[in-house]
Symmetry: C2
Subunit: 409 residues, 2 copies
C-alpha cells in the first residue's frame, strides 16, 4: 500500500462528466488499497471567467482580492469531486489551501509556499478517506488567501507529496508523458519512461511544456518521485527521479527546441573587462530575460557579443542597444528574428565524449549552418536559422537513434 498524491488540471475536470472520470480513476487506486490525496485545479475556463469579471471592474485588479476571487474556482472542483467519490462509496474530504494550511508568503497572485501542515490530511487518510485539496492556493500567516501563479496546482501537489513523504506524485495531463522530442515534428518520437529532474528541467524550459518548471525544481529539491501521465489514456507515463536511482542511463534523453526567440548581435566592441556587462546590463535592467549569451574575441582586439531574447522583446532590446552603442563604443547592432534554438539534453552526456561533434556532424550533413553554440553539463544548444528547425530536430533524433533506445528506459 502506497501513499500517492495525484494532480488533475483544468482540462481533466472541465465538466461534471470529466470529474466523474477522475473519480473513477481515483476509485480504482483506492480499490488497490492505496492512500490517495488528490489536488485539482479550477474547471477549465472558470479561472478565465472569474478573471474577466475582475477586469470588468478594474483594469488592474487589487492582487489581494484577485486571489480571493480566483481561489473560489478550485473550491468548486474539490466539492464536486468529493461528492462524486462519495457517490461511489468512497469517503472523501475536501480542503481549501487555507484549510490544509498551505502557508505562503504574502506575494499575492504569485505566492511562494513556505510550509505545509499535513496534520489534517494525515487525520483523514487515517480515517480511510480520500483527501481532495484545492490546488493553486494558500494562505498567509495573517490568514489572507493567496494564489501561487501559473501552474500553481502542480506545485501544490509536489509540496503536499514532499510534506507527506508520499511514495509518488502523479501529474495527470493531456499528454501521455515526456517524449524524446515533439511527436508533431518527429514521427518516431518516443515516450520516455524515466528522466532525471535535471533533464526534465532542460526539456521543459526548452519547449516540452508538460510540467511547470517550478514544480520540477521543488520535486528535485525534496526528492519527490514525480510521474507525468495522461488523464485520458492508460499508460505508465514518465517517471522523473533523481539520477542516482537509475540503473543505467542512455546518453541522450531528448531533443528540445524553442522557436520563439530572436538573436541580437553587437559587433566590434572593445575587448575589455566588463564589456559584456555594459551590453547585457541595460537590457536586463528593463526586465527583459536574456537566454543564450556568447562572446567571441577577434584577433584584431575587437569583440562580437550575441545573445537571444524572447521574440516579443526583440524590438525593445534593439532600441536599448542602439542607445548604448555609441558609449561602448560598438561598430554596429544587428537583430535577427528568424532563428531557432535546438538542444540535446541528457545527463549521460557528462560521461560520454564526442556527443558535441556527433551533433555538429549530423547538422552539417543537412547543410544546416550553426550560428551560436552553448554547452552545459547536460545540454548542448545550437542557434540556427528558423526554417531549418524541424529538419535539425529530426536529424538529431535520428542521429542519436532516440526512437529505438531502450537501454535502462
Amino acid at each position: 500500500m502506497s501513499l500517492i498524491v495525484q494532480k488533475y488540471g483544468g482540462t481533466s475536470v472541465a465538466s461534471v462528466a470529466h470529474i466523474e472520470s477522475v473519480a473513477d480513476k481515483v476509485a480504482r487506486f483506492r480499490a488497490r488499497g492505496h492512500d490517495i490525496v488528490v489536488v485539482v485545479s479550477a474547471m477549465a475556463g472558470e479561472t478565465n471567467r472569474l478573471a474577466a469579471l475582475a477586469h470588468e471592474v478594474m483594469a488592474q485588479p487589487t492582487p489581494r482580492e484577485m486571489d480571493v476571487l480566483l481561489a473560489a474556482g478550485e473550491q468548486v472542483t474539490i466539492a464536486l469531486l468529493c461528492m462524486a467519490l462519495e457517490r461511489r462509496g468512497h469517503g472523501a474530504r475536501s480542503f481549501t489551501g487555507g484549510q490544509i494550511r498551505i502557508l505562503t508568503d504574502d506575494s499575492h497572485t504569485r505566492a511562494r509556499i513556505r510550509e505545509v501542515d499535513c496534520s489534517r490530511v494525515r487525520d483523514q487518510l487515517g480515517q480511510g478517506n480520500v483527501v481532495v485539496v484545492a490546488g493553486f492556493q494558500g494562505v498567509t500567516e495573517q490568514g489572507s488567501i493567496t494564489t501561487l501563479g501559473r501552474g500553481g496546482s502542480d506545485t501544490t501537489a509536489v509540496a503536499l507529496a514532499a510534506a507527506l513523504a508520499a511514495d509518488e506524485c502523479q501529474i495527470y495531463t493531456d499528454v501521455k508523458g515526456v517524449y524524446t522530442t515533439d511527436p508533431r515534428i518527429v514521427d518516431g518520437a518516443r515516450l520516455l519512461h524515466h528522466v532525471t529532474f535535471e533533464e526534465m528541467l532542460e526539456l521543459a524550459s526548452l519547449g516540452a511544456k508538460v510540467l511547470q518548471i517550478r514544480a520540477v525544481e521543488f520535486a528535485g529539491k525534496y526528492k519527490v518521485p514525480l510521474r507525468v501521465l495522461s488523464t485520458f489514456e492508460e499508460g505508465p507515463g514518465t517517471l522523473i527521479t533523481l539520477e542516482e536511482q537509475e540503473m543505467e542511463k542512455p546518453t541522450i534523453a531528448g531533443v528540445a527546441f524553442e522557436r520563439n526567440e530572436a538573436k541580437l548581435t553587437v559587433k566590434g566592441v572593445p575587448d575589455q573587462p566588463g564589456i559584456a556587462y555594459k551590453v547585457i546590463g541595460p537590457v536586463s535592467e528593463q526586465g527583459i530575460e536574456v537566454d543564450v549569451i556568447v562572446q567571441n574575441a577577434a584577433a584584431d582586439g575587437s569583440n562580437d557579443i550575441s545573445f537571444t531574447v524572447k521574440r516579443d522583446d526583440a524590438e525593445r532590446s534593439l532600441r536599448i542597444l542602439e542607445q548604448v552603442a555609441p558609449s561602448l563604443p560598438a561598430q554596429s547592432v544587428h537583430l535577427d528574428t528568424k532563428i531557432a534554438k535546438v538542444s540535446l539534453v541528457g545527463v549521460g552526456m557528462r560521461s560520454h565524449a564526442g556527443i558535441a561533434s556527433r551533433m555538429f556532424q549530423a547538422l552539417a550533413r543537412e547543410n544546416i549552418n550553426i550560428q551560436i553554440i552553448t554547452t552545459s553539463e547536460i545540454k548542448i544548444s545550437v542557434v540556427i536559422e528558423e526554417k531549418y528547425m524541424e529538419l535539425a530536430v529530426r536529424s538529431l533524433h535520428g542521429a542519436f537513434d532516440l526512437q529505438n533506445h531502450e537501454n535502462g528506459q
Copy 2:
C-alpha cells in the same frame, strides 16, 4: 460618525454593473464619515448554478461538500465588490465566513451561528478600510466550511452588527420597506417607517416576506436596530426597533394574510382532559406544522377541534386523523382547503380595547363569515373563506385607516 452594517442580497449584486452601484452606495456612506461593514450574497443565479452542478453529480449531495461548493459563490462577490471600492479610492478588505471566524455548529447546510470574532473587522475599520464579508457562511470549531441555510446572509449581517455593537444594520432588498399590507392587494398600502421586532415577526410570518424571521429574532434578541430599505430606490425604508424606543405607537401596524393553509376539523370528540393532544399529537409527530388551533366545547358535552396546516400537508393530515378517529372516538373528520387567514398586527393593541370588535364589525359589513378566531397580545387572526381574502384585507386596511395613520410613524 456611525458604524453601519449593510447587507446586499443576490439581486443587488446580480452583475458587475449591479456591484458597481452597490460600491457607489457604500462610497456615499463612507464619504459621510461612517464606518461600513458590507455583507453580500452570491450573485443572483450563482447559488442555483452551483447547486445544479452538485445535483448532476449526486441526487443528495453530501452536506459538508455542498457547503464548500456554495460558499464559493459569495467569495466571488466579496472580491469583486472590494475591487470596485478600491477603484473608487476606498480601501476595502474582503473576508470569508471562515476568515472572520463566524463560528457555527456543524449542522451543514443549515448551521447556527455560535460566536462572531470581530477582531479582524475592527482592525480593518481602524485602518480606515471598508470591510466586505461573505454572507451565508461560517466555519466550525474544526475548520469546516458551513452555510446558514435560506436567508443566511441576513443572519450574518445581524450577527456582525450585534457583535460589533453597530449603530444600525441595513438590509437592502428589492422593496422599499415593510408596508401596512401587500400593495398588490391594497392600493393605499403605506410604507411603515417604524415597526417593532414583534410586529415584524408577525408580519413576516404571515406573508409580508421581506426579511428572514431568523434574522429578525436575532436582531430582537441582541437589540440591533434593523432597517429594511431598497437597493434600487432612495428612501428611509422601515426601521425595526424595540418597542421601548418608540415615542408613540399607532394601534395597528398592518394587515397580514396567508392563503396557503387548509383547515381540518374533528367533530364530536368527548369533552375530556387530553383530547386536544390526542387529536394534534399524531399530526405533529409526522413533522407537520400546525398553525391556528381552536377547541369549542358544546353544551352536550361533546367537542369540536379545528386547526390549520400548510395546504401541502392537508391530505396527509386528513389521513392521519381518519386513522385515529375511531380511538378518540370522533363523529367525523373534515378538510377544507379553500380558506385563508387574515391578521391584524400591532403592539398598540395591548393597551387598546375594542380592536377585535371593530375588526369583526368591518368583516360583517362585507358579509364575510368568520370560521375561526384566535388572538395573541399583538395579533388577531381570523380564518375565512379564501375567495373573500382580498376583500377582507382591503376592508380592514380601510376600517383602521392605515393608509393615513402617521401618529408616531
